[in-house]
Symmetry: C2
Subunit: 207 residues, 2 copies
DNA sequence: CAGCAAACAAACCTACCAGTAGGATTTTTT
DNA sequence: AAAAAATCCTACTGGTAGGTTTGTTTGCTG
């Protein structure tokens, strides 16, 4: 990794510029010229830090994943009930998608999977893991119907969230994403949460 | 449109080849050379029928949409109850995605929206319309909880289906798509269908 | 001040790509 | 069978892309 502060800074600006460009135009739609022009950096400087376009893309993906991990860790550390935690994670991640170029690039590059030569090992799996964990916890505490197959539900929640993101991007440029995610939870929870459990609040703002 | 049979045939093979290529590699990932090589046709012949890459892509999208319309019309003409119709449409469309290159290309090109210069007017809307219609019908017949906001539900169903498709592609190349869609319905219907209504069957095969 | 990391600059290379031009061939029309 | 129209073919063009090379300059650090 870079050994000077200045280097770290340029690396970061390149990464950010790449994030913006990839988020807007996708991997193949973005040229290296787009990126280093946007970053205000020369070609040489860029290639000093990232040896290829793919490597740069993967760096963006990783940076996005780290932000995801932070969100998950923070929410898990809170003292909310498990279902509430899951909802919080989804909505906080949704608002990250709305605002952070790196995160937007992350989700777009992941959806585009297959345009790269190597392929990332299943990027949805970690989210499913987290969801499964929390759902299982909720079920044990009687806050989720016992008849529900936790794994299947986790799978569905991740897919439904992904779909909300895709459709929201296409129709409103992510503007209505948080609303869509809240909508998802309202429709889902009707059938899955036993009567008499506490109402779940969608407390905004999240950032 | 072509005036000779021979021409119609080459047009069709080009369209099919383009569908396969776009489905596999996306719009920007596909070169015209990919397409006419796959079709076993020369460049000139291709450009006689389609004057640009974008036009070809839009032709593929249209062809896919037509197949979608056929599915919808066929199911609407059946005598199943409205919710069952909606489920049938979703599952039949899912199996089209699994098997038909043109349909696969259609969904991929639509998700990629934004890589083209012109943009298709909201491609999810027609599906939402159909869903709304059927859900409203179901609600009036007492086969759907009265408290449900039909428009919000339709919106969610379309997004959730789209998500299932995206995730299924990334993880299994569409192999588990039908299963995922069935899973979606099972989880959704629990809370939305009043007690005592007929059980809904996922009768396969659909083709 | 010596040595190395970082950044700049510009020319360069190779591959590929969308699209075009104009001629050849096939089919239809007269 | 001749003319006209539709279809198809080959070679070519202009441009862009990712990435390399070479050489120079700036800044940090010991």
């Amino acid at each position: 990794m870079p050994q000077q502060e200045r280097a770290q800074r340029t690396r970061d600006t390149v990464l950010r510029a790449a994030g913006e460009a990839f988020a807007e135009k996708g991997f193949l739609g973005t040229s290296m010229a787009d990126i280093f022009a946007r970053a205000g950096v020369t070609k040489g400087a860029l290639y000093f830090h990232f040896s290829s376009k793919e490597e740069l893309a993967f760096a963006v993906i990783s940076a996005g994943e780290e932000l995801g991990n932070v969100v998950v860790q923070e929410v898990l550390a809170s003292d909310a009930p498990p279902l509430q935690k899951l909802i919080d994670i989804s909505i906080r991640w949704a608002s990250y998608i709305q605002t952070d170029p790196i995160v937007r690039a992350n989700v777009r590059l992941i959806v585009e999977q297959g345009t790269y030569s190597r392929d990332v090992p299943n990027s949805y799996d970690p989210w499913e893991q987290v969801a499964s964990l929390l759902l299982k916890d909720a079920q044990e505490r009687g806050e989720l119907e016992r008849s529900v197959d936790v794994k299947a539900l986790a799978e569905f929640i991740v897919a439904a969230f992904t779909g909300a993101q895709i459709v929201s991007y296409a129709t409103s440029g992510y503007k209505d994403l948080v609303r869509r995610v809240e909508n998802m939870w309202q429709l889902l929870l009707v059938g899955l949460v036993p009567q008499g459990n506490p109402i779940i609040f969608f407390s905004r703002p999240y950032r």
